[in-house]
C-alpha cells in the first residue's frame, strides 16, 4: 500500500509517496529538478550530481534519495543553482562538445541544460581531451568525445537475454564506455535507435540516419528542458 507523506520543497508543501525518489516526487508536484544521468523507470545512479538538492543542510542527489515525512528540501537556492551550472560547464570543458557539428544538437540534454542555465561561456579551461570515435559497429557510432559517462546506455540497453550491450572499460580518468562487439552485431534497428535515444548527448548515434529534425522543430529549440513538468503547474 502506498503511504502518502508530506514534505517541503523550497518552502512549498508537497505530497509524495513514501520511498519515492525526490526527483519523481517533485515532478508529481509539477516542480522540475534538473537531471542528466537519470532515466525514469531505471534504477538511479546519482552519477552526474546535476540534481543535487540540500536536505537537512547536506547536499544529496535527488534521483537517489527517497522523500520522507516532514523532509525539508532546498533546490532553487542560488548556490545550488550555481553548483549545477558549474557541473554543466565542467562537462562542456572536459569532453569535446562541438555543438555546431553534432547531430544531436537541439535534442541534446546537456546542451538543453546549458541553455536553461544560460551558459554563455564555461568558467573552466577547455581541455580538448584526446578521445576516439568507434565506427566499426554495424548499427552504431560511438563518439567518445561527447560521452559524459552517465551510464544510461549500460543501465537501459540489454539484449533479449538481459545482457548489457554497453560496459565501462579502463579505469580512473581513462574510463570509457565499450560496446560488446558480438552483441552489437545482433542489434536490430529499433535497439540501435533506442540506444541512441537513451544517450543524453550525441555519444551514441544510429548509423545511416542524421539531422532528421529540422532546426526550429527539435526538442529544445523553443522550450527549455523541464518545461513539460513546469507547464503542468501553470494549467
Amino acid at each position: 500500500m502506498n503511504q502518502l507523506i508530506e514534505f517541503r520543497l523550497d518552502g512549498v508543501v508537497c505530497m509524495g509517496q513514501k520511498g519515492q525518489y525526490i526527483v519523481d516526487a517533485a515532478s508529481d508536484n509539477n516542480i522540475y529538478i534538473p537531471t542528466l544521468c537519470n532515466i525514469p523507470g531505471i534504477k538511479p545512479r546519482g552519477a552526474c550530481r546535476i540534481c543535487s538538492v540540500r536536505v537537512n543542510g547536506k547536499l544529496m542527489t535527488a534521483c537517489t534519495t527517497p522523500v520522507s515525512e516532514g523532509m525539508d528540501i532546498e533546490s532553487k537556492s542560488a548556490d545550488i543553482e550555481d553548483l549545477r551550472k558549474a557541473i554543466i560547464e565542467l562537462l562542456f570543458t572536459e569532453g569535446n562538445h562541438f555543438c555546431p557539428a553534432c547531430e544531436r544538437s537541439g535534442n541534446c540534454e546537456l546542451q538543453a541544460l546549458a541553455y536553461r542555465y544560460q551558459m554563455l561561456v564555461p568558467r573552466f579551461k577547455f581541455q580538448f581531451s584526446k578521445r576516439t570515435v568507434e565506427a566499426s559497429h554495424p548499427k552504431l557510432i560511438k563518439d567518445h568525445d561527447r560521452c559524459i559517462l552517465c551510464k544510461r546506455c549500460i543501465r537501459a540497453i540489454k539484449d533479449e537475454k538481459g545482457r548489457s550491450i554497453f560496459a565501462f572499460g579502463k579505469r580512473g580518468h581513462q574510463v570509457e564506455i565499450n560496446i560488446d562487439t558480438k552483441l552489437s552485431k545482433n542489434m536490430t534497428d529499433e535497439q540501435a535507435l533506442e540506444a541512441a535515444e537513451i544517450c543524453p548527448v550525441g555519444a551514441i548515434l544510429k548509423k545511416e540516419q542524421g539531422f532528421k529534425d529540422p532546426i526550429g522543430q527539435r526538442k529544445y529549440d523553443n522550450e527549455p528542458i523541464g518545461s513539460d513538468i513546469e507547464n503542468l503547474a501553470l494549467q
Binding site: Y115, V121, P122, F128, D221
Partner: protein, 183 residues
Amino acid sequence: MNKAIIATTSLAGCFGCHMSFLDIDEKILDLIELVEFNKSPINDIKKFTKMCDIGLIEGGCCNDENVHILKDFRAHCKILVSFGECAIMGGLPALRNTIPLQECLDEAYLNGPSVVGNNEKGIIPNDEELPVLLNKVYPCHEVVRIDYHLPGCPPKAELIWEALYALVTGNPLKLPYEIIKFD
C-alpha cells in the same frame, strides 16, 4: 550624443558571424544612428584610427597573426565581445586540437587523398610571410580578457542586435530562450 565606436574582426572564423550581423537587415539603419564603425571588414578600414568602445571578435586564435590582432583589439577597445562558437571555444577549427600539429600538416600537404601526386617535392608552406600556426586553436578569452560572450554558430542576428543595443544605450539586455543557441 556621441556615437559609440565599434570595431569588428574575423580571426580563425568563417565570416559567418559577420554574415549573421548583416542579417539584422533594416535595423542596420537604426544601428548606424547609434554607432560609428572603425576597423572592420564591413567598411574595409584596415587599421585602428582611434580608441573604440566595443570590439566584436569572431573566430578563435589559430596562428600568431590572430593573437597579434586580438591583442591590438584589446588595446584599442574598451569592451571586447567574443561572438560565435569559434571565438568562445575554438569551434570547428579546434577539431584539430586533439591531433598533433605536424600530423595535421602532413595530412593537408603530403598524405591527404587530394594532395597525393600533386606535391611531388613534399613542400609544407613555410614562407616567413605566412603566419605561424599555433600548437592548438585557442578560445579568445584564453588569450586576452573578454568582457562578454555571445554564443551561436552563428549567433542569431537578434542576439547580436540586442547585445549591441544594450551595450550602446545602457539598457538591460533581453535574453529570451530562443535566441541563445550553440548551433
